[in-house]
């Protein structure tokens, strides 16, 4: 019979379909894994509700669990339990190393435009906080575009959710 640890290890091999430097476990979207005999139940929280990677992640999880010889049941949890705060320390470092600035910590209130315009976001290339907001939106819903005036490099900043 498959163990919970084996399932977590298998899920940790699945990369995020849009940012393959990070696994879905590092991304913090796997909320819970439970093994009931031959059945494995996974609770999965979407990052953004409109994220097209959602279906891909769910299918990959099912495939990995079935490869362990178990029956998979992946439940998508539609609540506020995922936050960018759930990205692991290792995950944040992998993002930064790949040129994606990791998200700022979540606060009780959702961020305001003034905060996004303030110079507290650090350039993932040179470490400077002399960065400006170029666009609240980016190539995917989870990212904004900023520009570093120190090293003159545009970069993608993870939104805080």
């Amino acid at each position: 019979m498959v163990t919970t640890d084996e399932v977590w290890s298998a899920l940790a091999e699945i990369e995020d379909p849009e940012i393959p430097v990070i696994s879905i476990v590092d991304l913090g979207v796997v909320r819970d894994v439970r093994v009931h005999g031959e059945r494995v139940r996974v609770e999965f929280t979407p990052t953004f509700l409109g994220c097209p990677a959602l279906e891909v992640m769910r299918d990959r999880m099912t495939t990995e669990i079935e490869a362990l010889g178990a029956e998979a049941e992946v439940e998508v949890v539609l609540d506020d339990s995922w936050s960018t705060d759930r990205i692991t320390a290792a995950g944040r470092e992998k993002l930064r190393a790949a040129g994606f600035a990791p998200p700022a910590p979540r606060e009780a209130q959702a961020p305001k435009l003034l905060q996004l315009r303030s110079a507290v976001f650090r350039c993932p290339y040179c470490g400077s906080t002399e960065t400006t907001l170029e666009n609240i939106f980016g190539p995917t819903p989870c990212r904004s575009i900023r520009y570093c005036t120190s090293c003159r490099q545009p970069f993608e900043q993870f939104k805080t959710i």
């Binding site: 409109g50 097209p52 539609l78 435009l113 980016g138 819903p141």
Partner: protein, 208 residues
């Protein structure tokens, strides 16, 4: 409650559709990206709410298999504005303000599934509100934008239930006045419905 949720899901689906009409033709590249992302988010919210309502059933059926008169969306989201940027932005500004008020109410719901989903949606909408705020700052003194706000105000009132209209009016310093309610549909609605539902009507149960 289900009727309210269906109305909100229909608003988000149809507005997402309308906002996506700017993809590729927005006045600047930044807005091409922004409108595409915003549209994707709104349709994602609609999908999540339809899933909640379908209760393990078929959310796509709820989204696409109804007759045009069965949709509960506000006429505001049905209006077609391309290529008019002033009205497009006026709608975004009004819609996000109204949406924030109704989400605040849903977040306080005693139904945990509804409150949880509303909290998640609200975290995403915060970025749409910032986008609207940015454009309101830029355009507030432009006559065409001011005209668009006035023209769309009765529609905006119809987005929220009567109890929230005073709060919405306070945000813009306007009087409540007559509302264009969601029991009616805009003239552009049948054409949009035709387009939105075309695939499902051609191939029942289509999926890919």
């Amino acid at each position: 409650m289900n009727e309210l949720l269906l109305a909100i899901a229909d608003d988000e689906l149809v507005l997402g559709w309308r906002d996506s009409e700017w993809t590729g033709i927005a006045p600047v590249l930044e807005e091409d990206v922004a409108f595409s992302s915003i549209a994707q988010n709104e349709i994602g919210h609609a999908r999540a709410i339809y899933q909640l309502l379908a209760d393990d059933g078929d959310a796509d059926a709820l989204a696409f298999d109804r007759a045009p008169e069965e949709y509960r969306c506000s006429p505001l989201v049905e209006l077609r504005f391309v290529p008019d940027w002033a009205r497009t932005i006026a709608r975004r500004v009004l819609y996000e303000a109204a949406d924030e008020l109704r989400l605040e109410r849903l977040k306080a719901s005693s139904d945990e599934a509804v409150a949880g989903l509303a909290a998640k949606v609200d975290r995403e909408e915060a970025y749409h509100r910032m986008h609207a705020e940015m454009w309101l700052d830029r355009l507030r003194d432009e006559p065409r934008f001011a005209e668009a706000l006035d023209e769309l105000w009765p529609y905006a009132l119809g987005l929220v239930e009567a109890g929230l209209r005073e709060a919405l009016a306070d945000r813009f310093g306007l009087a409540v006045g007559d509302a264009i309610e969601r029991s009616s549909h805009a003239d552009e609605w049948p054409a949009l419905w035709e387009e939105m539902t075309m695939v499902r009507r051609s191939v029942p149960g289509a999926a890919w």
